[in-house]
Amino acid sequence: MFELPLADLAARLRDRQVSSEELTRLFLGRIARLGAGLNAFITVDEEKALAAARAADARLARGEGAPLTGIPVAHKDLFCAKGWRTTCGSRMLADFVSPYDAHVVEQFDRAGAVLVGKTNMDEFAMGSSNENSHFGPVRNPWDPARVPGGSSGGSAAAVAARLVPAATGTDTGGSIRQPASHTGTSGIRPTYGAVSRYGMVAFASSLDQGGAFGQGARGLALMLNVMAGFDERDSTSVDRPKEDYTRDLDRPLEGVRVGLPKEYFTADLSPDVAACVSAAVRELERQGARTVEVSLPNQALAVPVYYVIAPAEASSNLSRFDGVRYGHRAANYADLADMYRKSRAEGFGAEVQRRILVGTYVLSHGYYDAYYLQAQRVRRLIARDFTEAFKACDVIAGPAAPSVAFPIGEKSDDPVQMYLEDLYTISVNLAGLPGLSVPCGFGAGGMPVGLQLIGDYFGEARMLNVAHRYQQATDWHRRLPPGAA
């Protein structure tokens, strides 16, 4: 039963063919058996999970179940969950037990989902390989010698190995779509402002957005129904009516215009990935979609702009970690300033330190205009490219990552090479658009490849529609990694 997608498990729970306690024990058993080898979890709490499962069973018995009631889920370890350790993959927060719930955690609890654990991640969500975690790298279930992608690598690996049917993640520059692509899972990053950031440890506030991993598009839509919605505790939460993200899933694709950005299909893209993505586009055409070439002329500037804006926001957000109110405090120091300096040097890993330093520099006196303001101006140009492109198409299709998952250690000494992993995902964050990745085949080394779909603002339902129709005709999303059966 572990291999069933979210919607099928929900139906069995509703029909009382299985109890939430049985289902939760099944997945806890898989985590115990396969979890440690993948290092996908930082915290697992069987006792809390089983208590939540029994509460869900009582609710289902009363006939008051919602679509996710009784479903085991995992949260990326940057969503604060009351009474749970929330580490953000960092030594800085290694012992931090949250005194409150994130909005997303609250919403899943309210829906009756069963939280089984918190997943591993790149420290403070900074990374594209999950090698930057204080708790060690996550391994790719398709090949344990390779990375699962990042920063939501633990969630991606957990869903890929069917350790949980669903997990949350966050996507600041590709941190859901790129690991989804690398692990053969489906992952969605909604429009900026659709999911509240309240209780989500901040990295780059104008780019961070919570989202979800699942086997297929229907599960993602069900999770978005729970996660998305206005929350006054997030000042950038968008106040708009609740929508049902499953409403368009089955709509035929006849007449849908799929934009193919010519800047995505260049020599930067590995031929194996290009072949899978092209085949996926042909399947959409077979179903009646029409392809149009579009152009994103400023695409090449997305990574450079991101590495000014994201570090700038990070340096400001992470200034709160000073060893005073919570988090790591150094054992020995001379005075207050020395306590700050030592606590931060010990608490933050190398990549987090680098980004704080880059951010500090670009915001410092004399450099602000040349770097930060200029980056914000180019960001506007990048966003305008998408506005132009969406005049000619309904969704944009392309790769989610330039190649399949790479071996652990291959790029860890070269930050700039690592940054280029997010070549096809970062511009979506800069523009604030929604994007998803669904499995579309296997490339070099038998590793999964993802098809990225990008939607217009609040165009999630249309994007999920295209993804779901594609998954009705293909079975890539149902394939299991070798060790997971």
């Binding site: 037990v97 900026y192 402002g193 500037l301 005073v324 207050l336 330093l357």
Partner: protein, 94 residues
């Protein structure tokens, strides 16, 4: 290109201690990142409004009333060092 002195100055501004033997490697890594960033600086952006946020919106206002309850005990429970409801830090005034 950042000089070693500039790296030291930024580290000080960011309140991060960098051991002297780590400075040169850090300088090299930071300069590689600024090398990547460089191509964006040459773009002509005259007349382009800076985009600070992904979605154009104005700051919401709410009624000026107390909405939070007093939870200082819960929040201070996780602090490294507290006494009588106060956070303790090394002495700053002699």
């Amino acid at each position: 290109m950042l000089s070693l002195d500039e790296v030291r100055r930024i580290a000080d501004l960011a309140r991060i201690e960098v051991p002297p033997e780590g400075l040169a490697a850090l300088q090299q890594q930071l300069n590689a990142i600024f090398g990547l960033v460089e191509q964006m600086r040459a773009v002509d952006t005259a007349g382009v409004e800076p985009m600070a946020h992904a979605v154009d919106m104005s700051q919401r206002l709410r009624e000026d009333r107390v909405t939070e309850s007093d939870r200082h005990a819960e929040f201070q429970f996780i602090a490294p060092q507290v006494e009588d409801g106060l956070y303790l830090v090394p002495k700053v005034i002699e």
